[in-house]
């Protein structure tokens, strides 16, 4: 999301100031703002993101604080969403869960872009053997049962970190502690998730490479690197933005699923998936404990999906329906 707006707004502003004819990004932004669902979703995501950053700093309680006098209380003025079996405030746990989920969404997408974009660009641009090798790797990884693979990587990383190997691992270990033990999830989901992006970038590069403007750049003596990064890549940004936005919800769902199975975030750090699994035992007597995190996941994922669909309609003039 952050990447999408920051990429969209500046060019629109520049276009407006310069009084020029509205460019590609400007018209895309106008398209997007006409889509009510996409706008509502964007607002929801921004509010969620801002409160995930600010609320934990000003809220009187933390996610791990237990109050044994207030166990499994329903929503009240003091506890807006009630408390769980250990007397912890569900509201602040939910907000912390938002931190976890949004971080997972963004970091995993960053890993995916770091691997997928260069791979796709290289495969499409160089063709031949490079293309064959990269696409073979993509084909093989597509057959990997992805969730199983993520869980295996996760377990490997956690086992390695727990045995205190020192050196370089120290840094990873620090990051891992700060994120509640999710570095394995970032890496696992990133390693398995770049396939789609690389395919999109490759297909786009292939079709752009044969167009007149790249031939022109080549005949003017532009270097390969310049053609790749100044001419081909910018023209591929739109599908990458769409794929990234639509990839965030699936990363969020995977993380919450892994945490739900008890293999993800390390308690007492909350994750929406973990909160749901903790509440399932008592869902008959205290349904609110299940409803709030379930709604948080569904609404967040829904918002990213709506926004991604809106972006696709706005950025791809040929996909309009």
């Amino acid at each position: 999301m952050a990447t999408a707006t920051s990429a969209l707004i500046p060019s629109a502003e520049i276009a407006a100031k310069a009084g020029r004819v509205e460019g590609f990004w400007g018209s895309a932004l106008r398209q997007l703002t006409r889509n009510k669902l996409a706008v509502i979703s964007a607002v929801f995501i921004i509010v969620l993101g801002v409160s995930a950053i600010i609320v934990p700093e000003i809220y009187p309680r933390t996610y791990a604080e237990q109050n044994y006098d207030a166990i499994t209380q329903g929503p009240s003025r003091e506890y807006p969403m009630g408390t769980d079996q250990l007397g912890r405030d569900i509201f602040i746990r939910l907000i912390f869960g938002a931190r976890i989920s949004l971080t997972v969404g963004l970091v995993v997408q960053a890993v995916i872009l770091l691997i997928g974009v260069p791979a796709g660009l290289a495969a499409g641009f160089f063709g031949g053997k490079v293309d064959t090798v990269i696409m073979r790797i993509v084909d093989i990884l597509y057959a990997m049962p992805s969730l199983l693979f993520v869980i295996i990587i996760m377990t490997y990383l956690r086992g390695t970190l727990n045995s205190n190997p020192g050196g370089f691992w120290e840094y990873i270990s620090k990051i891992d502690k700060a994120t509640g033990g999710l570095v394995g999830v970032y890496i696992g989901l990133g390693l398995i998730g770049w396939l789609t992006v690389s395919r999109i970038v490759r297909a786009n590069t292939l079709s752009l490479k044969s167009q007149d403007f790249s031939t022109a750049a080549e005949s003017l003596g532009a270097s390969r690197g310049r053609i790749m990064f100044r001419h081909l890549l910018p023209n591929t940004i739109a599908p990458i933005v769409v794929a990234t936005t639509l990839g965030i919800p699936s990363a969020i769902l995977s993380e919450s699923g892994i945490s739900f199975l008890g293999l993800g975030v390390i308690p007492p750090m909350p994750s929406w998936g973990l909160m749901i699994s903790e509440s399932i035992v008592s869902m008959r007597s205290h349904p609110y404990m299940l409803i709030f995190p379930a709604m948080a996941i569904s609404l967040t994922v829904l918002a990213f999906n709506f926004l991604g669909d809106g972006l696709r309609d706005a950025l791809d003039p040929w996909m309009k329906r």
Binding site: F149, I152, G159, F260, L261, A294
Partner: protein, 297 residues
């Protein structure tokens, strides 16, 4: 492609699980005495050099033997797969049939009512289906159907004819149904603007015949591709549902085997699922030109 793919999957998994510190016997509360540990390792061939374990296991798998399970010591992995995989497969197929029926219906209705309220409602349903994880759906269904209305039991498995199949199948079906609905809708919209549909209408066929005989049959072609791949996803991704609803399928076993470092079970499951996904992809590649003669040249 199938064999090299499986070989890479096997090698990656093997390296990762053996690189993970701790072994299958160090997961309990009490440490195992050194002598017992030595005997256990010797009995399961874990004292051999790693490359030897790698080739031994590969050799056995090629002969249909997935090795002994470390945790359920009286059973082999082949036994476990034989007991649990059919259950996951049955559940997956029932879910898939539900998903195909619901998804295609929803997609066709949405496309026929393009840009009208019905279309938006169908679109909202399918995007909500994509956004709700299956474990939330199971929990909510249990809460509603079992606890409130007492229509079905709260968990278990008794074959696909028992009412217990309803909740896990519906929960598993929701996501693929939503995806299929979206594909069907966009494919249907393509077809509805094609010349042969206009011809069919122009020669005076009524709308029902045009839709069912001319449009849907062509619109479903791309859906087949997605469908086969989703089926593999559904069968391999059923472990949330199996864990919550206590279905004794293979997904539950996998989760347990990871935490207990049951190497043969992990390798067996990953290989089985990898083979399933590859075979599904292969079937699509073979089936597609047969269904759509335009693709064969």
């Amino acid at each position: 492609m199938l064999i090299p793919t499986l070989l890479v999957i096997y090698t990656l998994t093997f390296v990762l699980i053996h690189a993970t510190p701790g072994g299958p016997w160090s997961q309990g509360d009490k440490p195992v005495p050194p002598l017992v540990l030595k005997r256990l390792n010797a009995a399961y061939g874990l004292d051999k050099p790693l490359w030897r374990q790698y080739t031994d296991y590969l050799w056995n798998v090629l002969h249909g033997d997935f090795g002994p399970s470390f945790t359920s010591r009286s059973r082999t992995v082949t036994d476990i797969i034989k007991d649990t995989f059919p259950i996951s497969l049955q559940l997956g197929i029932v879910a898939m049939m539900l998903a195909v029926f619901a998804g295609i219906t929803l997609g066709v209705i949405a496309a026929i009512n393009h840009n009208r309220t019905t279309d938006y409602v169908c679109g909202f349903i399918s995007i909500a289906g994509i956004s709700t994880p299956s474990y939330v759906v199971v929990s909510l269904l249990v809460l509603l159907l079992s606890s409130q209305l007492h229509l079905v039991p709260t968990g278990g498995w008794n074959g696909i004819t028992d009412t217990r199949v309803i909740i896990p199948a519906v929960a598993l079906a929701l996501y693929p149904a939503a995806v299929l609905a979206r594909y069907t809708r966009s494919s249907m919209l393509d077809v509805l603007s094609a010349d042969y549909v206009r011809t069919a209408r122009a020669k005076g066929l009524n709308e029902t015949v045009v839709i069912t005989r001319h449009a849907i049959r062509n619109a479903l072609l791309p859906v087949v591709t997605v469908g086969a791949i989703i089926l593999a996803d559904v069968v391999t991704g059923s472990f949330y549902v199996e864990t919550i609803y206590q279905v004794p399928g293979i997904g539950r076993y996998f989760v347990e085997s990871i935490t207990s470092r049951d190497y043969p079970v992990i390798l067996g499951t990953v290989l089985l699922f990898g083979a399933l996904v590859s075979v599904m992809n292969l079937i699509v590649d073979i089936l597609y030109p047969l269904l759509d003669p335009r693709m064969s040249n």
